[in-house]
């Protein structure tokens, strides 16, 4: 009897401790909803673009629909700014993009807990339909003057994919990627390579700082 009560107390204690350790679960859920909305909006926009292009050539379609996509980018930018503020990563959260102690680490950790999963679930992949899946990249770097996305998908060209700055210092860009494994990094102010704090690290470390890995389509090979 006493043992049962002890076990019950222990279970209750562990449950309470687990609740206390879980930070802002409701915020996570709300933010997930926002991120799902962003991705859903972008996905439908890209999908409709491709559907109207009989060749299925996304690059060709992109040239013809630049103005419409610009609107989508602004929409994503606005939503990303809202996400950044909702996540508590606004102005003054930390001093810069470099690792500067607890405040930055806390902000990165905070961002890490409120992120789009780096391994995109297979059930949202459109790769099987021949449609590249738009993937949202984001880096919080308020002190940066410019940030670019580099990776295998753009031949590691730091000029090819500049990121847009949202209020609060969140830099973002949406890029259509085929299913599969993609290695990438952010280039801050033209020289500093930063891995994505939201994604797994790449094991290869050939030239200094590490890169990140993203699996689009849940790890299926196209």
């Amino acid at each position: 009897m006493t043992d049962d009560r002890d076990d019950r107390d222990e279970r209750n204690f562990q449950r309470a401790a687990a609740e206390l350790r879980t930070p802002s679960a409701r915020d996570d859920a709300a933010l997930d909803d926002v991120l799902v909305a962003i991705r859903g909006e972008a996905a439908s926009r890209f999908a409709s673009d491709d559907a109207g292009d009989p060749t299925g050539d996304w690059e060709h379609a992109r040239l013809r629909r630049r103005s419409r996509r610009r609107g989508a980018v602004w929409l994503v930018a606005g939503l990303a700014a809202a996400v950044a503020f909702a996540a508590g990563l606004g102005v003054g959260g930390f001093a810069g993009w470099r690792l500067r102690g607890e405040s930055y680490r806390a902000a990165m950790e905070d961002l890490g807990m409120r992120r789009v999963p780096p391994v995109v679930p297979a059930n949202v992949s459109a790769g099987a339909l021949g449609v590249r899946q738009p993937v949202q990249f984001m880096l919080v770097a308020p002190a940066a003057s410019r940030v670019a996305l580099v990776g295998e998908f753009n031949d590691w060209d730091p000029i090819a994919t500049p990121m847009a700055r949202a209020p609060g210092g969140a830099w973002h860009v949406a890029l259509p990627l085929a299913d599969g494994r993609h290695v990438y990094a952010f280039v801050v102010d033209g020289s500093a390579w930063v891995p994505d704090p939201q994604a797994p690290l790449a094991p290869e470390r050939w030239f200094g700082s590490r890169n990140s890995v993203m699996l689009v389509g849940g790890g299926r090979t196209q």
Binding site: M113, W156, R181, P200, L201, E204, W206, F207, G208, T221
Partner: protein, 220 residues
Amino acid sequence: MTPNVKPLLAAVGLALLAVSDASAQDRRLTTRLDSATAAQVTRLVDSVRVAGLPADPLIGVALEGATRRASAERIVGAVREYASALGSARQALGERAQSDEIVSGAGVIVAGVTPTAVESMRAARPTGLLTVPLVVLADLVARGVPADSAAATVADALRNGARDDELSEFRRRVERDILAGAKPTTAMSIRTRDLPGGRSRGMQPPRMPNAPRMRRPGPR
């Protein structure tokens, strides 16, 4: 046209396609690398392609090196090491392995995981894709978990039927604990309890300093 000629024409067409593809990739290399380095990389890329291995990642490594202004020796050395790891990964993962699996396997081998450990992961999941488990393993090693214990943990999880989403969540929790200050090995060991079959393997979580200790009253 006789039926015997058709396969020959098809083979010639495929060969021409392959040659044109290789030329395009060579152009990518020659515009970013000096001619000697581009030639060395191209030879490695061609040998990997002939072996039926994914060659694009090698070009990616060379282009990344060029962007980062690495020396020619370093670029060629990285491409050569990666090419060797790709072969080891395919041998460990089996002939039916997909290209993303092979590339991910090569990555963990470069990071210090033995091909034997990769083989044990394949044995633990003989039919399903191993891309996500290999990415999780690579991340653990990159964050400081010793390669052998990380590989053993992931292989154990696979043997116990861990799904990809469970492994991804496991990785995320380990990462969070490490960012919060936990030692990588400790973080992995504790979070192993959350994996299928992990309750008996992982360490017990440390008791919180201010937590009341449960006293078990005995006979007085």
